[in-house]
Symmetry: C2
Subunit: 475 residues, 2 copies
Amino acid sequence: MSHEMLTDLYEFSMANGYYQTLPHDKQASFDVFYRNAPDEDSFVLSAGLMQIIEEVKNWHFTKEDIDYLRALNKFSDEFLTFLKDAKNKCTINAMTEGTPLLPREPILTISGPLIEVQLLETLVLNIFNHQSLIATKAWQITHAAQGRAVMEFGARRAQGPDAATYGARAAVIGGCTSTSNVLAGQKFNIPVAGTMAHAWIESFPDELTAFKAWAKIYPDTASLLVDTYDVVKSGVPNAIKVFQELKAQGHRPLSIRIDSGDITRLAKKARQMFDDAGLSEVKITASNALDAHIVKSLLNEEAPIDNFGIGERLITSSSSPVLSGVYKMSALENKGQWVPKIKISNSREKITLPGNKQVYRLYSRNDPKHAFADIIALADEKLRDKITAIDSDVHATNDVVTLTDFTARPLLHQVLAGQKAAPIETDTFAIQKYAKEQIAELPKETKRLVNPDHYPVYLTKKLADLQKKLIAEYK
Amino acid sequence: MSHEMLTDLYEFSMANGYYQTLPHDKQASFDVFYRNAPDEDSFVLSAGLMQIIEEVKNWHFTKEDIDYLRALNKFSDEFLTFLKDAKNKCTINAMTEGTPLLPREPILTISGPLIEVQLLETLVLNIFNHQSLIATKAWQITHAAQGRAVMEFGARRAQGPDAATYGARAAVIGGCTSTSNVLAGQKFNIPVAGTMAHAWIESFPDELTAFKAWAKIYPDTASLLVDTYDVVKSGVPNAIKVFQELKAQGHRPLSIRIDSGDITRLAKKARQMFDDAGLSEVKITASNALDAHIVKSLLNEEAPIDNFGIGERLITSSSSPVLSGVYKMSALENKGQWVPKIKISNSREKITLPGNKQVYRLYSRNDPKHAFADIIALADEKLRDKITAIDSDVHATNDVVTLTDFTARPLLHQVLAGQKAAPIETDTFAIQKYAKEQIAELPKETKRLVNPDHYPVYLTKKLADLQKKLIAEYK
């Protein structure tokens, strides 16, 4: 399903206005970026590009759409006729999904006829904001889980079907190993996982009968939910009986899940009981309203948990449920020439970066796997070996630095031009792998769950000077 | 699009297990309810039923779905063949959309073959949890706005396309007057609204030229964004010029929007400037990260705001982004008889209410527009004129009361049986009107934004006794 109509009315109002006021092919460039990461993170993990490309590539309006727009009595017939035949003419440069993205850096730049670029704003932001938010939260949680498997279990608490499904994909990009959501599994080739609900146990006269029935059907993948009645007195002893029978029959006991009570205490007790029963291979999964901080605290207490199942706090990023990515004009074409544009604000932080730009990740020449800063440059600039750079953090006092002995990697690549999409990675786990490698390159201090260090983002002198010049012109 | 596959894997695992273990037509009843309202609300405004009925009525699996499930190597061929031909056989009783719903009350009960009822859990919860969450948040905000128009502006920050679109509908159910989301307008016949973005202003050499161009295109619906450069020095003076010209041409000046800065101070100043210029008809719209508490605070300060545009904090319910509705078995059929079922927990609050149930709203006989309590009864119970009732709040000390002089209105009605849906209200504004009437019936004290009074929910003695009996049996 495509979502051309998922567009704020004012985009149509402006597009209709541009159509009547400006040359129809007047070109514009916009940047997508954010100013503050969710929670206290130092970066955002980018996600959503695959869907953005699909949507923009296939962008078109149906007859029903045009009829609906006409009935609003706001738009000229000429504009509606133009829309009826419109196909994407825009070009998108973007960072690969799974790239750690810093504040103010364009994750995506879009150039094309102003009318069309304006009409894509709402949809592009909706997809980028949602998926990057969940990928970032998943990164936080899997980082806290220190290598243990994290399963995405949030479908029932997600904000609608798309949030559950694209959210599950973003969660895997951020590091999750599987999802409970079968639609996401089917759509994105992600392993699906799960155990049983309390309802299974309640459908049988007692817990042991319920466990035995399950083990008979799933002898090699039996994961038993042990907290319906009492984890220590009933759930684990019954699980031990069933697992020992399975083992005697040559099957492999798998795991239990604990979904309530004091997880540390119950997991330690269960671990001991399984070990004493000769079932040290049985894994323990914990679920129930977990988040990065709770996962970290459980592991600090040495709770013997092998896997985590994370629901609502992952799939809604409930501690910080909005990523406020914005879409700002960076350049406007005038008689065939790009004119850099700026958005002025009373708040220095909100002043935009003018012009068509590129973002480079800078690596130390001695340690090419160690990224130490990013720099935003004008797209037509060549980075020299030694550059004067200005800290993009408006609060920085020592804001001019000289950078040498680095290699620079450009992060923005063309991914779409009109109907022509460049090949991008669409395998969810390949993107996850890329994300892990990219995150590994960042300094350790920037990855703390609480109070992470600032990762420097510089502007080239040329870009900073252009910004200053445009600010001065407005004054 | 239908979403049968938006189902946690364990639902399929259990359904396959039931298929192999129990009679295929074994009937079960489940309740959907919540325990705690988002934020500090005393109730949840129910929404989502329209989509739930559509999904359940058309529930079926495609050949591709079956092929995918087969490839998971978890399910028996017999079960997959059963799924291939399955159509909905369940019956749903539910509260009308827009009904204020109290903790522990079933908003929806679903009865049918256990296998099918189990497979619907994830999807039903996803839809109910999301849409009721947003309707409730919209109620909070529109309540705080005291009759002023509230426009839903959140599409770009919603958690995906569905969240934006079904969220906009839920926002109107909760009291919003319009949405910026054109897709939601088209799909649900909701008025669409909006002004212009800063990009419009930036596309012209100066603000006045941009305003004039807009007014020429939209002479009778011109709403001008006045904060691109400076609200007081530039935006409002330019708007005055343009509105005075429009007025001289016989058009009707509409409104301005302020999206940054101190809204109270700027709105007061703008109001005074328009009034001094003889433009008292110009309305002022405020936007920029508003929520119920900020709206209330602006109005307490007598900010002269006529309309609010509310984005991310409404469309994600960011202060409380999860409604934790659950789906719990209430009865299981055994040889043609319904057997009430209970879920035991160490926490008294988490023990479920057994049996097939009905919820009644109780009105004072002297004041039939005043609801004073709800009571949950067994479905086959008749309410007498004088009843002994038990407070469902497990923290209540004085928990047995006698109720007399009331009229009782049942809240659960059959809305779907197999392929046959009963007619329900689908007009979004008719549902909004119903919601307003229902909320008006509740005591004023239960509607406070902060620290609302508890609205009593009782259990009939028969239901409370059944619960006690089942708890005793488990011990």
